[in-house]
């Protein structure tokens, strides 16, 4: 956890004071709706379907237990007692009152939190690998760099009114768990030949209605130049990005229009004016920030205790949870644990205030008082002693938060959809619930194996459907809700975009379609080790289309569903 110093705190406090005055003037009628809009958006406040929605920043997904308790208090006091973790590692409150927001922001500031730039056409919350700092395959710890970027982006005067929003992700491991290639800028931390830290920079990735994979424009950017190089990218984008059409305004369109090599050339030309200037980073600052991170004091523990081994061999339920929700840790004797927020009767990513309080207790007891939010809308306890895993599992089970489905079909990623969001064409939550119900049999879900299923309620793609192995997109046809299905997308270093299988479906057909896709996969897979997405890559989408649409004409009335033999 990065701890604010008094200047960090003062800047956030002053932001609250500024926004309190802006809200006061808006309510008094001296600040117009149009003039107020970008101000409230840059403080996290959207006007939603039912009520304003407040999006609270959880910088790079790192959350302290005392902060989670404060979020619980806020959810109870100002909302309906729950919150929604989004795919951008933030927390959304769906029922706040506009006039309460300055007080909420004031409460957040008391625990070093804010909602700065969680919306609007500005640099958004920096996201990263949810295993940052604990991953065994880590090359560079991205957390320090994320905080460097949080400070650089927060209230950056030059880039507050960009053509469109701007998202930056940082990854520091071999595996890309931060989806860097689908961000406006992706920073992949690497080591140079002498061991020095640098970044591979990609630009122009993004989902939305025109998904694109980012282009690498610099293979190795030495860390000292991180901020000046980003300044150059942002300045070129700010000056030359399209502003006449918001659907063509993201930086990816500028990159596409110019071509990646020409765009890189333009960045370099701008950079020559900035490189080596005052914004060039210095080692003292990197060390200062690193020192302000409270890190666990790890104990010397055996790599794997006999007690844990015994439990794994005798307790199938524990072993199953351990197999899916427990992840390796770079320190011997420790593990990272995913708390699945994908459970019966609850929308993906939703947590009640009571659960927040209970999870804060577990974080204190088992994981140095820290949690992480994942872009798959789950929580992680990142520093759990392996010998405590069984006890933690017991406590999570008692809370209903031990569903062993991480990486599996029922770990569904979904935006809030039409139930809450005024942009959505269709609802996401009932579709997620129908699929979860259809695949209630855990044995079956485990047999299907690794599968990312993502649902977005509209083209804005907050549910990241393009990179789901199975992606579901809500579309509007003649005023009613339909769902378009794609397969073969994937996130990570070799990110790819899914292909649409054909005409869209009504809401009550979606679970059937997913079942048919799975049946096709099970019939064609080359052994248990071949994942759904690998099978799609190998055999193409035609066999899947055949399974889904082949008999559809004759049996529109829907024959009894054929569950593939597991």
């Amino acid at each position: 956890m990065y701890l604010y110093d008094e200047i960090d705190q003062r800047i956030v406090d002053e932001r609250v004071r500024q926004y309190r005055d802006q809200t006061r003037r808006y309510l008094a009628g001296t600040l117009s709706e149009d003039a107020f809009r970008p101000l409230r958006l840059q403080n996290g406040l959207y006007i939603q379907r039912h009520a304003p929605m407040l999006r609270i920043a959880i910088p790079y997904g790192l959350l302290a237990s005392y902060q989670l308790r404060k979020l619980a208090t806020i959810a109870r006091r100002y909302d309906r007692g729950y919150g929604h973790f989004s795919t951008r590692q933030n927390l959304q409150l769906n029922w706040v009152r506009l006039e309460d927001v300055p007080d909420i922001l004031g409460d957040l500031a008391t625990v070093q939190m804010h909602a700065i730039q969680t919306s609007g056409n500005c640099i958004r919350n920096i996201t990263t690998d949810h295993f940052a700092g604990v991953a065994p395959d880590e090359i560079v710890d991205p957390l320090v760099w994320c905080e460097v970027l949080r400070q650089w982006s927060a209230l950056n005067p030059e880039f507050a009114y960009l053509p469109r929003k701007f998202k930056i992700a940082v990854n520091g491991s071999r595996e890309d768990r931060a989806a860097t290639r689908v961000h406006d800028v992706g920073l992949h931390a690497v080591r140079g030949s002498g061991g020095e830290t640098g970044f591979r920079v990609s630009v122009g990735g993004g989902l939305g209605r025109t998904p694109m994979i980012g282009h690498v424009i610099r293979e190795f950017l030495p860390w000292q130049h991180l901020l000046t190089y980003l300044d150059a990218i942002l300045r070129v984008y700010n000056r030359h990005g399209r502003r006449d059409n918001k659907y063509r305004a993201r930086v990816k369109f500028l990159v596409k229009e110019r071509g990646a090599p020409e765009f890189a050339h333009e960045i370099d030309a701008e950079w020559t004016h900035l490189k080596g200037g005052p914004a060039t980073l210095i080692p003292e600052e990197v060390e200062r920030i690193a020192a302000r991170f409270v890190r666990p004091a790890y104990e010397a523990l055996p790599a794997r205790g006999a007690e844990l081994e015994a439990r794994l061999s005798t307790d199938a339920g524990f072993a199953r949870w351990h197999g899916r929700n427990v992840h390796p840790h770079k320190v011997a004797g420790y593990a990272a644990v995913t708390v699945s927020l994908k459970r019966p009767g609850s929308a993906p990513g939703d947590v009640t205030a009571a659960e927040m309080d209970a999870l804060a207790v577990l974080a204190d007891r088992y994981s140095h008082g820290e949690l992480r939010v994942t872009h798959e809308q789950n929580l992680i306890l990142a520093d759990v002693r392996q010998r405590d895993l069984a006890a933690l599992w017991g406590e999570l089970r008692a809370l209903g938060l031990a569903v062993p489905n991480i990486g599996l079909l029922t770990n569904i990623v979904a935006c809030p959809g039409g139930d809450f969001c005024s942009l959505a064409n269709a609802r996401s939550i009932p579709v997620a619930e129908a699929i979860r119900e259809r695949f209630e049999d855990l044995d079956y879900v485990h047999d299907i194996g690794p599968l990312d299923l993502n649902i977005s309620g509209c083209m804005n793609s907050c549910g990241h459907h393009h990179v789901g192995h199975i992606g579901i997109l809500g579309v509007d046809k003649d005023g009613s809700e339909w769902y378009q299905i794609s397969i073969g997308g994937s996130q990570g270093e070799h990110a790819s975009l899914g292909k649409v299988i054909g005409p869209s479906f009504a809401q009550d057909e979606v679970a059937d379609v997913i079942e048919r896709l799975i049946a096709c996969y099970l019939a064609h897979r080359d052994g248990d080790a071949e994942r759904f997405v690998d099978t799609v890559a190998r055999i193409g989408i035609s066999p899947f289309k055949e399974y889904v649409y082949g008999n559809a004409h004759q049996e529109r009335s829907r024959a009894p569903r054929q569950l593939a033999a597991a």
Binding site: I11, R15, N156, P157, Y161, R239, G277
Partner: protein, 179 residues
Amino acid sequence: MATLIRNARVRPDSWRLLEGPFDRLLIPAEDGLLPDLPAEPLIVPLALWLRRRDDLVERLPHVGLWLAADQDPQSAAADLPRFGVIAVRFGEFADGRGYSLARVLRERHGYRGELRAIGDVRRDQLYYLASCGFDAFVLPDDEDPRGALAALTDFSDAYQSSVARPSPLFRRRLSGACA
């Protein structure tokens, strides 16, 4: 007389902004001479400056230049230091190009004179505008400039390197020179 905010004070404004169609100033009369330019200190659009530079240059430094957000000052680069004022016009306040343009004028071209924000310039943008190098602001009629002055002190410090504070907070922390 019109007022503006200059150097964090409300002041009278003696400059006249030449906006709208100025083509008549480019068409020679029957005697072949170009029409006289208005006598008062004038802020002229870039296109007029480029076309009538020789006439205007005699009036330096009582001539100012204004730029639209999408214009590049490069074509007038050599003359920039001599303008009494340079204005950047915001078509709408949410169009952020002028912020980068201001930094380019200050940091790349080394312009040290008055840099004023004109057009849709509002109180709630003043702090960032000032950070990017503007030191004068012409507010629309419905904004009270005296009330808006407070916005210039919304924040006591900032993280970034900017025109107002070239040294970013991380360098000033080392020397103890933070606000």
